[in-house]
């Protein structure tokens, strides 16, 4: 675990050593706030909760999370530092998990900085803060799922633009799988696919969290989803590291 944390610590510090972290956090906060209060009809709804915020987060993450992960391995390969990192006396999986945890902690920081929203609803009304906490947990798990996809794709290429575009596309599949357009189309044409698509949809599962439902199967889904992609990440690193 020591090696994992060492890798994670260096990685997290590197976000803040460059403008990446600040740009990401500012854009995330501005957009999540704006969308919640405008398109989300925060005031007009007359309900003291953060439903509109939780509805927008997966779509914001869809573009912002790949922006973090695109450099995760691609940058190491471009700089050649991957050779340094992987010849330290640490196992490859430790490097993979460490980098993932750093990116995840970073997303957690960005989410935590949306706390003024929580204060706002608590001042204006009497929300169920347990439901809000569940929603935040769901957001964090969605971020983890996207990060795991993005990290694995980043390990496959030296080119950050390619890593970004492919990661957005892959995340979009899992974000859109539960949307009405997709499920209606599938249930008309391929009924058995509709069920599978809903099952893979991260947005559907986040909706449950944002209503305050923390189901064991949803937690299991996210943990195994992240696990599978991290495993793919480790294989991708192993196959492509020296290219």
């Amino acid at each position: 675990m020591g090696a994992v944390l060492t890798v994670a610590r260096r990685e997290l510090a590197s976000y803040f050593a460059t403008p990446v972290a600040y740009v990401f956090i500012v854009i995330f906060l501005v957009m999540s706030g704006t969308l919640t209060f405008t398109l989300g009809n925060f005031f007009a709804r007359g309900t003291a909760d953060l439903q509109p915020f939780f509805a927008f987060v997966p779509w914001l993450f869809l573009f912002l999370v790949p922006a973090i992960t695109m450099r995760l391995w691609a940058e190491e390969r471009r700089l050649g530092t991957i050779e340094l990192l992987l010849t330290l006396p640490i196992a490859q999986w430790q490097a993979v998990v460490g980098k993932f945890l750093a990116a995840w902690a970073f997303c957690a920081i960005a989410l935590a900085l949306t706390f003024p929203l929580i204060i706002t609803v608590n001042v204006l009304g009497d929300p169920d803060n347990g439901v809000i906490a569940a929603g935040y947990l769901g957001c964090l798990l969605v971020a983890g799922a996207y990060l795991a996809i993005g990290a694995a794709i980043s390990a496959l290429t030296k080119n950050q633009v390619i890593a970004f575009v492919l990661a957005v596309a892959a995340c979009f599949l899992f974000a859109a799988a539960g949307s009405p357009i997709v499920t209606e189309f599938l249930s008309r044409n391929l009924p058995w696919m509709a069920e599978a698509a809903r099952g893979l949809s991260v947005t559907d599962r986040l909706a449950a969290f944002s209503r305050g439902v923390i189901a064991f199967r949803d937690i299991l889904f996210f943990t195994s989803f992240i696990g599978v992609w991290l495993f793919a990440n480790a294989i991708a690193v192993d196959l492509r590291k020296a290219d």
Binding site: R10, A17, E83, T87, L88, P89
Partner: protein
Amino acid sequence: MRPFPPRRNPSAAGASRSPAGFQPWGDVTVDAPYIEIDRLTKRFGAFTAVDDISFTVHPGEVLGFLGPNGAGKSTTMKMLAGFVTPTIGTARIMGDDVTERPVQARRHLGYLPEGAPTYPEMTVTGFLLFTARARGYRGTEAGDRVHDAMRMTQLEEVRLQPIETLSKGFKRRVGLAQALLHDPPVLVLDEPTDGLDPNQKHEVRNLIARMAPEKAILISTHILEEVGAVCTRAIVIARGRIVADATPAALAARGPDLDAVFRELTQETA
């Protein structure tokens, strides 16, 4: 596991590798090799980068790895460091197989990759502290290690500067400091003096010479004068194969000078 002499035993290492090379008690138990390269082969598709290379390096030896660009020097070193997986064969560091026990093998190893890659946005101290922690040092011990490594490579004056602002010579020394930090018994340095000015080259060679008696050191270079200056033995490789393995003096004696011998050796197979 095969026996190897305890680390930090200059008497065993130094005495058995006396210049005369006379070892009445034999070569096996007193002086087991720190580096063993065993029929190492690497193919990239149809191209064979390293073709069935075997050699050993004993403590007290500084082995110069020579060859034209693309001869397979770096690929061999990458395999030894466990970064590239061999197609056939293996390598052992202090008896630990680099493919079967990679983490243990790397603990004995200080490795300077080709081009001395470092994280540009980190400060020199931050970067070295990271490698110290990755090697399991904590707290004040990590700090001491970093301090010692910076002193050996003369980095103190730039210790708080981001690496990206440093000159090429300093960057190379940061890479070197990272490799020396844990005082490893085995050093593998891929072109350690590349990009250094003559004074810095001299310093690095002195550093290598000072460490040589108790370590097994493998350095790759294409600067032939360097071989005579620091190496006790030289291996010339061309097209992935070993074409010569001798002391620098013996190698130079094969022709008018080392340059001519090198050209002849590496061109006759081309």
